[in-house]
């Protein structure tokens, strides 16, 4: 397990662009009576960056949360690197460790400092030694420009800094894919840029990413594909140029107009 940990992103990804990392088939999610996801299909290949856009309440967060099993789908299939995630319940924590998640509200552990935030799961889930974990954590804290803050508590950081730590924490697990749920929506405008830059540089390293965002120019610049969600399904998915310049459905046209 340990040998595959280092430098997964830089070396192996993007050479194998046809390898499917995540495949979602006919995914349904009900909350009580309400059907929120109504049959989502999605395929994410290795090294691909897919941005998910759509109006509020269309089910974007629910989709991401289903993908890493924070919500349990009502129906449908999630394949991760060829294995059925919902089939084998004993491996779900291992699976979660391979799919990083960056939340709108950072979700940093408030009882730990920055370094501890970044090493706890490496030690507990990946069984790395504390030394290996720290070294790896610092590597990624460097990447996001937060290495100087190892001793700080989350409460002492700005929103942008918190989110960069959260990204480093996710990267330190050397995941095979990263999910972002509106990573800049809780930030003050002047802090958005630093976080978007960080995400962009992670994308450049070849990380497979699914990003829910309202930052359209950003999405257009860094994505291989844009998925437009509406009322619980992916209404359109295509290259940024097609989606933004040649939208097909009325819903997407309306969405882009506002």
């Amino acid at each position: 397990m340990k040998s595959e940990n280092t430098n997964v992103n830089q070396d192996s990804i993007s050479h194998n662009a046809e390898l499917e990392i995540i495949r979602v088939e006919n995914l349904h999610k009900n909350f009580g009576e309400n059907e929120i996801l109504k049959g989502v299909n999605l395929s994410v290949k290795q090294g691909e960056v897919i941005s998910i856009v759509g109006s509020s309440g269309s089910g974007k967060s629910t989709l991401l949360r289903c993908i890493n099993l924070l919500e349990y789908p009502t129906k449908g299939k999630i394949m991760f690197e060829g294995t059925d995630v919902l089939g084998d319940k004993s491996n779900q924590n291992t699976y979660r460790a391979k799919v990083g998640m960056v939340f709108q509200h950072f979700n940093l552990f408030s009882n730990m400092n920055v370094l501890q935030n970044c090493i706890t799961a490496q030690v507990m889930v990946l069984k790395r030694t504390k030394e290996e974990a720290s070294e790896n954590a610092i590597k990624y804290l460097h990447k996001v420009g937060m290495a100087e803050y190892v001793n700080a508590r989350p409460a002492q950081l700005s929103g942008g800094q918190k989110q960069r730590v959260a990204i480093a924490r996710a990267l330190a697990m050397n995941p095979d894919a990263l999910l972002f749920d509106e990573p800049t929506s809780a930030l003050d405008p002047e802090l958005i840029r630093e976080v978007l830059k960080t995400i962009e540089s992670v994308a450049k390293d070849g990380m497979t990413m699914l990003i829910v965002t309202h930052e359209m120019t950003f999405a257009r610049r860094i994505s291989n594909k844009i998925a437009f969600m509406s009322e619980g399904v992916i209404e359109e998915i295509d290259t940024p140029d097609v989606v933004f310049d040649n939208p097909k459905s009325i819903k997407l046209k309306n969405f882009l107009r506002v």
Partner: protein, 258 residues
Amino acid sequence: MFFETVGNILERYGSMFLDGTLVTLYISLLGTIIGLLIGLLIGIVRTIPLSTSGEKNITPRFVLLKIVNFILSAYIEIFRGTPMIVQATVIYFGLAEVAGIDLEPIPAGVFVISINTGAYLAEVVRGGIQSVDISQFEGAKALGLSHWQAMLKVILPQTMRNIMPALGNEFIINIKDSAVLNVISVTELFFVTKTVKGVIYKTYEPFLIAALIYLILTFTVSRILRLIEKKMAGKANFVLTSSNLSADDLMFMEGKEV
């Protein structure tokens, strides 16, 4: 006249008062600690999700948890709903007569305080766990931590901070309420005072001394607890570290006040 009496009492029975004070401190401290362990255990059990997959199927796990939760609620209701003096009497004499278990008064006293405190703290702990923001739990799950790992590393440390005031309060209440254990002949402060009163035929003076000792105990404890709470709230400042730190440097610094 009054001071003379008090002085005389202290001179002749001072060591008895001291012994009684130590017993009071011993049973209330030990009872609070064991009560906390009981409370933590129950609080943790009562927050185990009934289902791992969000489905509301009636699995063996579901049934078992329901039964356990029912028993635990019964325990909590019974011990919160009856006076400790009654509990002490029933347990002490009941165990002796029905089960033939002749407990020494002091262990019996610790036992009564422990299960009584456990019942109160179980609710406090549950509230403390539930008041930790759900985002903390989700952050941990998304990194692949299991429910237990998340509990241990993220939720419980924050719970402890949340419940510190209630825990301290419970300790202070136990210092005072352990006086009722005189009914089962625990040689705590109140019991000792009664004994002294019986010997010297003075009524209010010995009890005034006892009151003063209780006051000193509770006041000191509440000051100490406030210090601990402050300490747990964490430092207000952090130190920027040079960004060229190696992992070794950090291991060295970790856990130290820098």
